[in-house]
Every structure is written in structure tokens, then in C-alpha cells.
């Protein structure tokens, strides 16, 4: 292990999380720690997962099999801003599908792809429990919800994020 992702940097937080479970059940901290590692690095390279395994005294495979099961964890490099637009039924019935296509055209990439400048990835996501205020998208690592989305709101959001860089 050459780079340390979270061990020192988020030391206090990690200790606090591990203290939430019985001493022999440290593995329960796995999902929270993977979120922290992803927050630090944007995605989860193998050595970041190995570091989590080391912290929790579990085998690396126990981390890989979990990280690959849950949809929030990115196992490959990904855009700085991951635009996760809900594509489930209720959102599609109020225009989510058209907005996803609009976003694809606007950014010049398809769902699942990253823009050439590395800023944006469009990622489809399933129901975000905001069906009454759809269409909806969220952006990690804060996962703030943008509800009642329109083309205008999307334009504004993308402009703001571009300006911030």
C-alpha cells in the first residue's frame, strides 16, 4: 500500500464509527468507511479498498464483494460531478426520460459516460423516494436533491458547476 486514503486523514471519524458496533463486529463499519473513502478519492481504487480491509481486519475480498454489490460505489474513475437522474416509473411519467436525453445532448455524452474534461458523468439511478417532486437528480458527495427538475434548472445547475471550476 503506497498511498493512504483515509487512515490518518479521517482518523477520528473512523474511530467514532467503529465504536458504534460490538468490538468483535467491526465489519459493520464497512459501508460507512467505503463512503468516506469514496468521498476522499471520488471513486474506489483497489488500494483504497485494501486500506479499508486493513482498518477493519477483514480480507480484501470481503470489501470487494460488498463494494461491487451496492450501486453507490464507483469502482472505476468517474467524473467530478456524478449527475444521478432518477429513471424509475413515477419520474418518467413526469418527464425524467426527456430530461435525461436533454442532459445527454447538452453534455455530449451518453448515460454512463464522462465528459472529456472529466467534470460530469451521467449515471442512471433508481427511485430516490422523491416521486411527488420528480423529476429528480442528485449529485455526490453531498447527494443534495434537485427536485421538480426542468431544462432551465438543469442549465443553471450545469452552468454553476462549470463556473466553480
Amino acid at each position: 500500500m503506497n498511498i493512504e486514503y483515509i487512515k490518518e486523514k479521517r482518523k477520528g471519524e473512523i474511530a467514532d464509527i467503529i465504536s458504534r458496533y460490538p468490538a468483535d463486529r467491526k465489519k459493520s463499519a464497512l459501508l460507512p468507511l467505503l463512503h468516506i473513502a469514496q468521498e476522499e478519492n471520488g471513486w474506489l481504487p483497489v488500494d483504497a479498498m485494501d486500506e479499508v480491509a486493513d482498518i477493519l481486519d477483514i480480507k480484501p475480498i470481503e470489501v470487494y464483494e460488498v463494494a461491487s454489490f451496492y450501486t453507490m460505489f464507483h469502482l472505476k474513475p468517474i467524473g467530478k460531478y456524478v449527475l444521478e437522474v432518477c429513471r424509475t416509473g413515477p419520474c418518467c411519467n413526469v418527464g425524467a426520460e426527456e430530461l435525461i436525453h436533454y442532459l445527454e445532448d447538452k453534455l455530449g455524452v451518453a448515460v454512463g459516460e464522462t465528459t472529456a474534461d472529466g467534470l460530469f458523468t451521467i449515471k442512471p439511478v433508481e427511485c430516490l423516494a422523491a416521486c411527488g417532486t420528480g423529476p429528480v437528480l442528485q449529485i455526490g458527495p453531498e447527494y443534495h436533491y434537485h427536485e421538480n427538475l426542468t431544462r432551465e434548472k438543469l442549465d443553471q445547475l450545469i452552468d454553476e458547476l462549470r463556473r466553480a471550476n
Binding site: 459501508l31 413515477p90 427511485c127 423516494a129 411527488g132
Partner: protein
């Protein structure tokens, strides 16, 4: 206006803070529980209340609590299921976001009743903003002596933690949730043993939905009989219904169980009628997993009685002509909605969310999605319709957890009630969904 138990103070400014929440009577149930009531007395009140699990299954909460194995000296756990992910359902997120202390108060009082010393709220990972709200509220509760050692000076101590998920619908199934909380893949466990005997870390555990837990303080404060006096028959109390789709007023409504479906859809107090002056076509009444019903059957039962918003009335007629109250995720479709396209979308969802453990679900959900996709995109054959029915039948009841049924029921019911629409798609693909055919929503897994 019906009785409000959960949302009475939803619009009070600052109700998300401990100070205002307490001013409105919040945390009274904790004081009453730890000072005046034995844990068993609380369990008795919950049994009397008739409260049923609000996550979707509708199992009597008091009975679930009474199954908790007290014969061992292992620790007991209360775990709150805040993994709300059933399409059409957004009541728990709303409640946690707006009144986080309602859940925390319920967790403390319920943990006391169950003898738990450590409890967890498992929140789906996508709801990070809600997790931050809950953590802040928990911190406030600790500072006020409502959590931690010797709660309000009593001998009862409790630690309460929020656990983030990682993005997986299946973790709403209680044993998958426990696996996930143990740091594993969310593969549901074989039952029995049930969590009441073998739950978190192999210890006796109760898993309850957010809304269920948030109902407990009112029951402790006012008594089980008072709660049971609200509602109709075995559908006691109030229920949060999250209404969405083609209605004038989408949102979360607290209803007294027993109002008519017609009233819920058309009255201004609730959905406010169908949007854009259109006609009602169909309703999925309890989250995407429950059978879809056409207008005539959602408004009245097969016996021509007005359909009520209760567990019993919505399931009247079984699956031939009825559905389920489920999670209260109420999705309304107007006359312009295409049933085939909506079903394809839901089938894609279940395929995406199948954990892959059981072959009928892993293979069947993918197969149904594929067949529905070809019908929707104009390459279907007539025999595909019965093929779908057959696949659904071969998933149902043949899997470890209910995701199999959740995937099968929408397909079976959509074809039962809207077969002509599927036939029309096969015979004339241009007739309905033409606008979608030129460009596909990418459905990568």
C-alpha cells in the same frame, strides 16, 4: 380534516429542532415510558392499538414485538428500516427530513419497550441529506439527556446510531438489511429463524419501518385503545400515503384509515383530482410491487362497494379484482399513460435490483424485462403475453424473499386488467408509444 398523529405539527416553524419539537409536546412518551411504565406494559398498549407494520407487509407490530426472544441473555436490538426505496413511496424520507425527532422519540420509547441498549436506524445511502439531519437531531437528543446513560435520570440507557446503506433496493427486506448492517452484501436470509430469534449479530432483533416507530409515542401517550378507535376494523390509526403521478396535488398525506379511495383521489384535501383535466386510468395503490387496478376496480370492489383506504378493502377480491395497501405509495395514471411502457420500466427496476441469489428471480426478472422491452419497442409476438404470465407464475413463491413476488405481481396484474393494450402493441406498435421508439432510455446495469 381527519385525525393527524404524525403530521399534526408538520408546518410549525422550527419543528425540526429539539426545542420546538419539545414545545409541541415532543418526547413526552420517553418521560412517561422510563418513569411510569414497564416495558411489557408498553408492548401491551402497542398490541391493543392494532398498529400494523407501515413498511408494506402490514404485520401487527405488537405481535412482532412479542415474538422477541427473551429467553437468552444476548443483547437485543431494535433496527429501524429507513431504506425507503419502493417506487412511488416517499413518506419516510418526508417525515425524517421534516420531523426527525418524531423518529428518534419513537426509537427511544420502542427500544425501552424491547429492552434494547443499542439501536440503529438504517437509512438508504442515497438519502445522505436525511442522514445528516438525523445525526444532528440525535446529537441534540444526547445533549438533552434523552439518549445515552440514564435517560432523563432513569436507570435506562440507550445508544442510537444512524447507519448508511450503499444503494440497494433489496436492503428494504429486513434480513437483507441486517446482512448489510453487518457489513455484507444485501442477500436476504432464509427464514426461519426470524430476526426476533436470530437477527443482528445472531441476537434477538426487531426491525420496524420509520412510520411504524414514529406512531409509538402517540400510542404510549394516549393508550392503545385510543389509537384503535381511529380507523376501521383491523385497519386502525392513520397512515401516511405518498401520492404521485398524474394528479393535481402530489405529496405526502396522513389519512385516517377508512376514507374512500374516491375521496382520496378527487377531494381537494388530498390529491385534488387528475391533472390537466384528464380521466383516471389506473392506480398502483401501495408501491410499485402491488397489483395495478383499472379505474373501475380501484374506486369500487367487484361487489360494487366503494373501495376504502384500508388493508382489507384494498385487498377485497384477492388478486383477481383487488390489490394491497402496501407501503402507501399511491401512483396515479391518467388516460394517456401507457401500461406497457410503465410495466417495462418497473420490470427493468426489479431486474436491476434482484440480488441474484435465487435463480427464478435473477433469471426471471431479466427475462420479463427483455420480453416487455420487445413488446414496447415493436418486436413483440402474441405468444409473448402468455409467456410473461408464465414467467411471473414461475417466480412467485419460489424465492427466499418477496422481491420475487414484487416483480411478478405487477406483470400478472397488468396483463390481467390491460391485456388488450399489450395485444395492441404487438399488432400495431406505432399506435401508442411511437414518440419513444426513436430513442431508447439506456438501461445499462
Amino acid at each position: 380534516m381527519g385525525k393527524k398523529i404524525l403530521l399534526e405539527h408538520i408546518n410549525v416553524p422550527g419543528i425540526n429542532t429539539l426545542e420546538v419539537y419539545r414545545k409541541m409536546g415532543g418526547y413526552e412518551s420517553v418521560r412517561k415510558a422510563v418513569n411510569e411504565m414497564t416495558p411489557d406494559a408498553i408492548v401491551e398498549e402497542v398490541k391493543k392499538s392494532g398498529l400494523r407494520g407501515r413498511g408494506g407487509a402490514g404485520f401487527p407490530t405488537g405481535m412482532k414485538w412479542s415474538f422477541l426472544d427473551k429467553s437468552t441473555d444476548k443483547p437485543r436490538y431494535l433496527v429501524c428500516n429507513a431504506d425507503e426505496s419502493e417506487p412511488g413511496t416517499f413518506k419516510d424520507r418526508y417525515l425524517m427530513q421534516r420531523i426527525p425527532h418524531a423518529l428518534i422519540e419513537g426509537m427511544i420509547t420502542s427500544s425501552y419497550a424491547l429492552g434494547a441498549r443499542t439501536s440503529y436506524i438504517y437509512v438508504r445511502g442515497e438519502m445522505m441529506p436525511v442522514i445528516r439531519i438525523l445525526e444532528k437531531a440525535i446529537k441534540e437528543a444526547y445533549a438533552a439527556g434523552l439518549l445515552g446513560k440514564n435517560i432523563l435520570g432513569s436507570s435506562y440507557s440507550l445508544d442510537l446510531y444512524v447507519q448508511p446503506g450503499g444503494g440497494a433496493y433489496i436492503c428494504g427486506e429486513e434480513t437483507a438489511l441486517l446482512e448489510s448492517l453487518e457489513g455484507k452484501r444485501g442477500n436476504p436470509r432464509n427464514k426461519p429463524p426470524f430476526p426476533a430469534v436470530w437477527g443482528l449479530y445472531g441476537c434477538p432483533t426487531v426491525v420496524n419501518n420509520v412510520e411504524t416507530i414514529a406512531d409509538i409515542p402517540w400510542i404510549v401517550n394516549h393508550g392503545g385503545d385510543a389509537y384503535a378507535a381511529i380507523g376501521v376494523g383491523k385497519s386502525t390509526g392513520t397512515k401516511l400515503i405518498s401520492a404521485c403521478g398524474n394528479i393535481n396535488k402530489p405529496g405526502v398525506y396522513e389519512i385516517e384509515l377508512g376514507i374512500t379511495v374516491e375521496d382520496f383521489i378527487y377531494s381537494d384535501e388530498y390529491c385534488g383530482g387528475i391533472a390537466n383535466g384528464r380521466e383516471l386510468k389506473a392506480v398502483v395503490a401501495g408501491g410499485s410491487s402491488v397489483p395495478i387496478l383499472p379505474k373501475n376496480l380501484i374506486l369500487t370492489t367487484a361487489n360494487n362497494e366503494k373501495r376504502l383506504m384500508t388493508y382489507e378493502s384494498l385487498s377485497d377480491g384477492g388478486f383477481a379484482t383487488g390489490t394491497m395497501l402496501g407501503s402507501g405509495g399511491f401512483i396515479v395514471f391518467d388516460e394517456q399513460q401507457c401500461i406497457v411502457r410503465n410495466l417495462w420500466n418497473f420490470s427493468r427496476f426489479y431486474h436491476h435490483e434482484s440480488c441474484g441469489q435465487c435463480s427464478p428471480c435473477r433469471e426471471g426478472t431479466g427475462w420479463m424485462e427483455k420480453v416487455l422491452h420487445r413488446i414496447e419497442y415493436g418486436h413483440g409476438k402474441m405468444e409473448d403475453i402468455d409467456l410473461l404470465v408464465s414467467i411471473a407464475k414461475n417466480i412467485e413463491g419460489k424465492t427466499i424473499c418477496p422481491l420475487g413476488e414484487a416483480a411478478a405481481w405487477p406483470v400478472a396484474s397488468a396483463i390481467r386488467h390491460f391485456r388488450a393494450e399489450f395485444e395492441a402493441h404487438v399488432q400495431n406498435p406505432d399506435s401508442c408509444c411511437k414518440k419513444h421508439l426513436h430513442r431508447e432510455l439506456v438501461h445499462s446495469h
